[in-house]
């Protein structure tokens, strides 16, 4: 005993404590600390990833909105185009119908004129033949020699004057 202390106890204490420090930090606290570190990094990474995906989602949403607006505009344009095309077609149809009607009207008038001319001509021919017939009948019945002479001379005179 030295000053009341047991030196071997103290040496054993020191020895075991130093070994214990080494062993527990190697087999217990080291791994635990590594795991905590790993988790810290994992959490940080997850936060970063979440932030990135949030930004991406925002971007995608903005893009979708833009696309939607664009599509709406396109649809509007298509409708307007269709409307104007319809109006144009309508006008075309009306115009062509008017033209056709005009043409039909003209041809009908022409035909009417033709028919009229033909009828007139036929009538004239008929009138002429009838008048000749009537005249011949009248002449047969009433003409005297004197009148006959006069007629002939008149006729000759007329012909001569015409020449």
């Amino acid at each position: 005993m030295l000053g009341g202390f047991h030196l071997i106890d103290m040496a054993v204490m020191l020895f075991f404590f130093l070994i214990l420090v080494y062993l527990v930090s190697k087999f217990a606290w080291g791994p635990v600390m590594n795991m905590m570190q790993e988790r810290e990094e994992y959490v940080a990474n997850e936060i970063d990833a979440a932030e990135a995906s949030r930004k991406e989602a925002e971007k995608a949403s903005a893009e979708a909105l833009e696309r939607l607006t664009q599509t709406k505009q396109e649809a509007q344009k298509i409708i307007e185009d269709a409307k104007s095309a319809g109006v144009k077609q309508e006008q075309d149809i009306i115009a062509s119908a008017q033209k056709e009607a005009e043409r039909i009207k003209l041809s009908a008038q022409e035909e009417i004129q033709n028919e009229k001319d033909k009828a007139l001509q036929a009538l004239q021919e008929k009138v002429a033949s009838l008048s000749v017939l009537i005249a011949s009948k009248v002449i047969e019945k009433e003409i005297s020699a004197q009148d006959q002479d006069k007629l002939i001379s008149d006729y000759i005179k007329e012909v001569g004057e015409e020449r």
Binding site: L7, I8, M10, L20, V21, S25, A28, V32, M35, E38
Partner: protein, 240 residues
């Protein structure tokens, strides 16, 4: 009250000043083994999502990390974390062992707190103070280390010198005193319960109360020893 002796062997190897208290040796080995086994069991099957024992381990680690962080910045402090955590767990387990049970065999106390022995606690405190000097020189240089004894004024040198020994003594003896006194009172109360029916009733309730209080003191003393060790080391290694 019966007096119990200790299993002390004098004149080991025929050297007159060399002696050993076998109880201390046993309890040091038992405490170290319990600390080691508990730590390794707690560190098994480590997962990203902690469960059960891992939560306790991480709580202890965070607690000791807090002690280190309170006294110095983490960059310097992280190398002392293994020391601090082993000091804390060893002293805590050692304190608890004596509170829970005391084993007497053949008239000699074999099973008690290793920390109830001044030799053991002073070994730990001396180790801490020597480490503080070692790291003080290692991290700040010999010039700084020597200069620190003469600042702020040179005539404080004797006081600073005494301070080192005082720190060692108070650090070790505080722990020893608390645990030893707790053990003595527990032994007294146990003796009281064996005196008869009245003694049993009069002794049992204070015994339970004091046992609970000793658990509290054991935890507090482990914490105080660890934080003071870190304070002494921080005092040497940090640049003011």
């Amino acid at each position: 009250m019966m007096e119990y002796g200790a299993p002390i062997i004098e004149n080991v190897f025929g050297i007159s000043w060399l002696s050993v208290n076998l109880s201390n040796v046993l309890m040091i080995i038992v405490t170290s083994a319990i600390v080691f086994i508990l730590s390794v069991l707690g560190a098994r099957k480590l997962q990203m999502k902690p469960t059960g024992a891992q939560n306790v381990m991480e709580w202890v680690l965070d607690f000791v990390k807090g002690i280190v962080n309170d006294t110095m910045d983490w960059k310097t402090g992280k190398q002392f974390l293994p020391l601090a955590i082993t000091l804390f767990t060893f002293i805590l387990v050692g304190n608890m062992l004596g509170v829970i049970t005391t084993g007497v065999y053949d008239g000699e106390v074999w099973w008690t707190s290793p920390t109830a022995n001044p030799g053991i606690t002073l070994t730990l405190s001396s180790m801490v103070i020597i480490l503080s000097h070692y790291y003080g020189i290692k991290l700040r240089g010999t010039g700084h280390y020597i200069k620190s004894y003469f600042t702020p004024v040179w005539f404080l040198f004797p006081i600073k010198l005494i301070e080192e020994f005082a720190n060692t003594l108070t650090l070790g003896l505080r722990l020893f005193g608390n645990i030893f006194a707790g053990g003595v009172l527990l032994a007294l109360l146990v003796t009281l319960t064996t005196t008869g029916p009245i003694g049993f009733i009069g002794g049992a309730i204070p015994f339970l109360a004091w046992q609970g209080f000793s658990v509290f003191i054991g935890g507090i003393q482990a914490f105080i020893f660890t934080i003071l060790s870190m304070v002494y080391i921080a005092h040497k290694v940090t640049v003011d």
